[in-house]
Symmetry: C2
Subunit: 96 residues, 2 copies
DNA sequence: TAGAGATATTAGCATGTGCTTATATATCTG
DNA sequence: CAGATATATAAGCACATGCTAATATCTCTA
């Protein structure tokens, strides 16, 4: 499996879960703290933290601590790069 | 969950599974029969058929029977539409 | 430094998922 | 129509995954 494949696969795993997808959706509207996300997606704080961890491992989100709170936001350049690669692959497919 | 959300989520679920991702990859190189896919991804025939069923349910592939064989191919226009929507969403995000 | 607030981590459980084996359906050919 | 080939479906099992509850870690402030 090439590096790109692995990335796309991780991206899929992230977006394929409803909770994580809702987290991403929320983050697309602007950075949020864990506590804010908890209120938005209606999950417990540990559940949100766990999802954020997998999202971070897949490089889809960035975190930054400011005082007691940790702000999360989408890594847009990374995601856009992935989407572009994918789009190119589909465009260049062998037509039927 | 909006209609687009549901589609993207299904797309993610499809791409997030390694076997399904390999099937999509193979199909991007041109349409294939179930039997050909079995040889390529090294899964049993029922396993491949099951994956193809979920891919079809998510509208990512198209099937067409020709005699005894069924040919599968990616639904490129559909996928490209999804990727475009996703790209737009990420581009138009609220910057941090 | 003690306590409070915010987040992360761990363990455990219930459910979902992917695979296998067995069987059914469909299509062709003799 | 009978058998062969291609594909689909069903049942069952092992494992992965998402969630909860409990606890740990980190940071601020009095």
């Amino acid at each position: 499996m090439t590096d790109l494949c692995k990335k796309i696969n991780e991206f899929g795993r992230a977006m394929g879960n409803a909770s994580r997808y809702r987290i991403i959706e929320a983050l697309l509207k602007g950075e949020k703290t864990v506590g804010e996300l908890v209120k938005i997606v209606h999950l417990t704080q540990p559940a949100v933290s766990q999802h954020l961890k997998t999202l971070k491992t897949s490089n889809l989100v960035i975190d930054e601590r400011r005082g007691q709170e940790v702000y999360y936001s989408v890594d847009a350049p990374y995601i856009l790069g992935l989407l572009k690669s994918l789009t190119t692959d589909v465009r260049n497919r062998k037509k039927t």
